[in-house]
């Protein structure tokens, strides 16, 4: 409790920054495993009742029609420092839960789309989703035992990815490789955000001769002194 008191008094006086990262991909591709490898707390699951709006309830193949299905949502947490926390959310892998995605994606920094080279097509919907919404993502090729090792370039071309989208190899069970995939995502998102703010300022001003944007954001006053 003393911790909270000092937290509010604020040795740094900063408000908490929470960052949302999604772990997407087809059913059974290793999303839950990846979240479990990275989280500092036991993987938490929460559930959402299947509500009518936007939910394709009649696509419950082979299951009797019902509306009380719950969507299990995996999530985990990584504390970078006091007041700077990453939350990981495993997206529901089945199509009938797409209505949950918009809520999950709102305000997300980006996504790792997990791919299994034996069933690459399973990650197409995730790739499409993030591409269409301009949400930064990387593709994490989960190297299962016995899975044929593809070169990342082969995966990139099979998924028809933009050249700037990183493709990384990882093993969802191995923390270090999952962490590297996460680093690749945050660096990529950083680049995307910088480019966008660059475009924004380029639109407002005559284009500077091909140089990198020097002033990334119209930063509000009150930038903390170093």
């Amino acid at each position: 409790m003393d911790y909270a008191a000092s937290d509010q008094a604020g040795s740094r006086g900063r408000m908490p920054v929470t960052i949302k990262i999604l772990i997407a991909g087809g059913f059974g591709v290793g999303k839950t495993t990846l979240v479990g490898s990275l989280t500092e707390i036991r993987p938490l699951r929460t559930e959402e009742p299947l509500s009518a709006p936007g939910a394709a309830v009649d696509r419950l193949d082979g299951v009797e029609r019902k509306t009380t299905t719950t969507v299990a949502l995996d999530f985990g947490r990584i504390t970078i420092r006091e007041n700077l926390v990453i939350y990981l959310f495993g997206t529901p892998g089945q199509e009938r839960f797409w209505f949950m995605w918009d809520e999950l994606a709102r305000g997300a920094l980006g996504a790792i789309v997990m791919a299994d080279t034996r069933r690459l097509a399973d990650c197409f919907p995730s790739v499409d989703y993030f591409e269409q919404r301009g949400i930064p993502f990387v593709v994490g090729v989960n190297c299962f035992d016995g899975a044929r090792r593809y070169r990342t370039e082969a995966v990139r071309s099979a998924l028809d990815l933009d050249p700037h989208v990183p493709v990384v190899l990882c093993d969802a069970r191995q923390r270090a490789t999952c962490r590297d995939a996460l680093i690749a995502l945050v660096e990529h998102a950083l680049q995307v955000l910088r480019n966008r703010s660059g475009y924004a300022s380029a639109a407002a001003e005559p284009p500077a001769a091909g140089s990198a944007p020097a002033a990334p954001l119209p930063a509000p006053a009150g930038e903390p002194a170093p």
């Binding site: 908490p16 960052i19 938490l44 929460t46 009742p49 947490r77 950083l190 955000l193 990334p216 930038e223």
Partner: protein
């Protein structure tokens, strides 16, 4: 009064009170939809009137004595997010919790925090 020994029913009995009975059938919170990673903190030093609060409200307040995300609250309470949002809406109306909404990455005042994230992840 029996204490918090609630193991007289096992899990197979199912929930004793169905989740939406807790919130009296309401399905929408009164305010805006709370983000999963909004941070909730119980306001300190407030005199509670237990008769105006349900046990679930008190449980929420107990869980967020330290700042806690909406998603973690839902998991710890073992209640659907929709129910937790309504409970939080009730508590917010009574000024019993403070809510810190997340800043979307595109609106971060600077990119320094993301560089800190990368450095922090490298140290994991």
């Amino acid at each position: 009064m029996p204490s918090h020994d609630d193991h007289w029913l096992d899990e197979e009995a199912g929930p004793v009170v169905r989740p939406y009975a807790v919130i009296r059938g309401r399905t929408r919170p009164s305010g805006e939809k709370l983000d999963l990673i909004a941070i909730i903190t119980a306001v300190r030093g407030v005199r509670l009137d237990p008769s105006s609060l349900d046990p679930e409200h008190l449980e929420v307040l107990r869980l967020c004595r330290l700042p806690t995300s909406v998603a973690e609250l839902a998991a710890d309470l073992d209640l659907p997010l929709g129910v937790v949002r309504i409970l939080l809406g009730d508590l917010q109306e009574r000024s019993l919790v403070s809510i810190h909404h997340p800043i979307p990455p595109a609106r971060l005042p600077d990119m320094q925090v993301l560089k800190e994230v990368v450095d922090g992840l490298r140290r994991l």
